[in-house]
């Protein structure tokens, strides 16, 4: 730091010296030129007026002083006389004798120039020193900040406003950018941590989910191969085993979907397509289940909408909602789906006449592996993955889902999907 400062001072001094030399040289040349011109003029004067030669030479040789003056005491009078003389000469010959005296003033000029130069240089130097000190201070802070970034600490960005009260806009922008960078890095860090945690939680949850069906499968299997049982009992257990395997398979499928979506192994690829087609595909997946319970599926789609969505995964999301509607509804009921275009969204409403969702549970149904109290009683099937997946799929496409307990019995699910996707 100190060396750099000395270097700067030296640079300043050198600059000043150069100025001094150049200025002096310039003044010298100018003075020389002026003297030369004066000499020429005097010569000219003398050739024109040889009778005044003595006076002119006297004036030339003692410029500034009286040509005829002798002692100091009479200087005032002499000065007056001299100026009168000068006026006389001027009057007589149209020539300003004042010029002759001017030689002395060159020194004054030079002095003044050097003085001004010195003062100017000092002021500039001080200002520069002050500014660079301030800049250095800020630069050091920026450097410290970057150092913190390197160490993985992104919180320590100085307050922009208080530190930069009277700061030029460029510095403000640098602070702002640093802040944004910090926020961005911190966000990345957070997300990484969150992802790691959620992956851990996912693994725990999945293994937990798999334990129970696997245990019952093992039990069935052991009973089926047991020696005490009759042939008929064995057959029964085999059938039970078959069912358990099916359940496990469907659970596994759900879990695979879940973990793939959750860990972003599957990216949704929205493309323009008919929402009616997607809904129809979803309905056809649960059609058989509904028929078994004699549940009527009713569609109220005013006009088909071409919207931007990932057909395969949106279908999956809708199937989960339809599946719930059928699963938790009694026989001979109706499940209705309505599609209504909003301004920038399409609303899909799925209404059932089932057991409904308690008010205190409405917030929780989208949590992973959450199962409603009534739902658990009603059906053993299901791992509490469906709505969680549905919400994730919809939200990743800029959509949403919310449920409402219907007056009387049943639930209404409202799904929105944007008509067009925006990329940022």
């Amino acid at each position: 730091m100190e060396r750099e400062r000395n270097k700067k001072i030296r640079k300043y001094f050198a600059g000043y010296l150069v100025f001094l030399i150049l200025f002096s040289f310039f003044m010298y040349i100018l003075a020389g030129y002026e003297t030369e011109i004066n000499r020429q003029r005097i010569l000219l004067l003398m050739t024109e007026h040889p009778e005044l030669e003595a006076e002119i030479i006297a004036a030339w040789e003692r410029p500034g002083r009286l040509p005829f003056g002798r002692n100091e005491a009479g200087s005032r009078k002499e000065l007056l006389e001299s100026s009168r003389m000068a006026e006389l000469i001027e009057e007589k010959y149209g020539y300003d004798i004042g010029h002759l005296i001017s030689e002395r003033t060159w020194l004054g000029f030079w002095g003044a120039g050097v003085c001004i130069g010195t003062v100017w240089a000092v002021i500039l130097g001080c200002l520069e020193q002050k500014r660079s000190a301030g800049d250095r201070d800020k630069l050091r802070k920026v450097y410290e900040c970057l150092g913190q970034f390197r160490e993985g600490k992104f919180e320590g960005i100085p307050e922009s406003e208080s530190d930069t009260e009277d700061c030029p806009e460029e510095w403000m922008k640098i602070w702002e950018s640093l802040r944004e960078l910090g926020v961005y890095f911190e966000g990345l860090k957070e997300r990484l941590k969150e992802e790691e945690n959620s992956t851990k939680a996912l693994i725990t949850d999945i293994s937990h989910q798999l334990k129970t069906p696997l245990a019952s499968l093992r039990m069935c299997h052991e009973l089926a191969v047991g020696e005490q049982q009759t042939e008929e009992e064995r057959k029964e257990f085999r059938e039970q085993e078959e069912k358990e395997i099916e359940k496990l398979e469907s659970l596994l499928k759900e879990l695979v979907n879940l973990s793939r979506l959750e860990t972003h192994m599957i990216q949704l690829k929205p493309g323009t397509g008919s929402i009616k087609k997607t809904i129809t595909a979803a309905v056809s997946q649960i059609y058989m289940k509904a028929k078994e319970k004699d549940i009527r599926l009713q569609a109220d789609i005013a006009e088909d909408q071409e919207i931007c969505h990932d057909a395969r995964w949106t279908e999956e999301a809708l199937v989960n909602v339809f599946d719930n509607a059928v699963k938790y509804s009694g026989e001979h009921t109706v499940v209705t789906v309505r599609v209504k275009p909003l301004v920038t969204y399409v609303m899909i409403e799925i209404e059932d006449e089932g057991i409904g969702i308690g008010k205190d549970e409405l917030q929780k149904i989208y949590q992973r592996f959450y199962r409603g109290k009534d739902a658990s009683k009603m059906s053993e099937e299901g791992a509490g993955v469906g709505l969680y997946l549905t919400r994730m799929i919809l939200e990743r496409q800029g959509g949403s889902i919310s449920a409402k307990q219907k007056r009387g019995n049943g639930t209404v699910f409202r799904i929105t999907l944007p008509r067009a996707q925006f990329s940022h």
Binding site: Y345, L362, G399
Partner: protein, 227 residues
């Protein structure tokens, strides 16, 4: 000053009372909460529970009797009124129940108003993008009095979004709208906030809206009772 960047908003022991003596009402009673960046938080509670007062304090529209509000680490009530107003315009977008549009300005002018207040440059492209996103591309020249409630609120949302504030505060933004428009407006706000990485704090009494939030805070008698 070191700040925790992941918490965009920190409320510390906030108190606000109205009236004096016997009639004193503690609208906000020693409330503390933290809100994470990039999340959608719903504040629910009965009317008169102090949730609107809380939101006004968070947004620096009103000064508390005690306590602090930090936005991005900055203690907003340490600022003088003028600086606070400037800070508010830069960092916070407001959406109110009654839209608060300027009746003599058209949709476009209403949207760019906050930019003009800070002498910021209006980028045509930005405004058009927001207009398309909120579905008002063909209404840019319309005056507020010819707009429907939903259109008015969407204009207000665009106005709150145009400055790209880090924090958006909404006080019952769909209180005056029918349920379908409501759904649309909330979906819009939610997706805008996700797209722009903003943080949304919304007061609502509607369960369906609260379900769409990442977090629900319940306020009763000026206190956080459920989180």
């Amino acid at each position: 000053m070191k700040t925790d960047i992941s918490k965009i908003l920190v409320v510390e022991d906030l108190v606000k009372c109205y009236g004096t003596g016997e009639n004193m009402v503690r609208a906000v009673d020693h409330t503390s909460l933290e809100i994470e960046r990039g999340k959608f938080t719903a504040i629910v509670g009965r009317s008169g529970s102090g949730k609107s007062t809380l939101l006004h304090l968070i947004g620096g529209l009103d000064r508390p009797d005690a306590g602090k509000v930090r936005i991005e680490g900055k203690d907003i009530f340490a600022l003088k009124d003028e600086r606070l107003a400037e800070f508010r315009r830069k960092k916070i977008g407001f959406v109110f129940q009654d839209y608060n549009l300027i009746p003599s300005l058209n949709v476009w002018e209403n949207i760019v108003l906050p930019l003009g207040l800070d002498n910021r440059k209006v980028r045509r492209q930005d405004v058009e993008e927001v207009l398309v996103k909120i579905g008002l591309a063909d209404k840019a020249e319309a005056m507020p009095n010819v707009l429907s409630g939903g259109q008015k609120q969407r204009t207000a949302i665009a106005r709150a979004l145009i400055t790209r504030p880090a924090l958006i505060l909404a006080d019952e933004p769909t209180g005056n709208l029918d349920s379908q428009t409501e759904l649309e407006v909330i979906s819009l706000m939610k997706s805008c906030v996700t797209d722009f990485g903003q943080t949304l704090v919304m007061i609502t009494h509607d369960e369906m809206i609260a379900q769409m939030a990442d977090r629900v805070i319940e306020i009763t008698d000026g206190k956080v009772v459920n989180d």
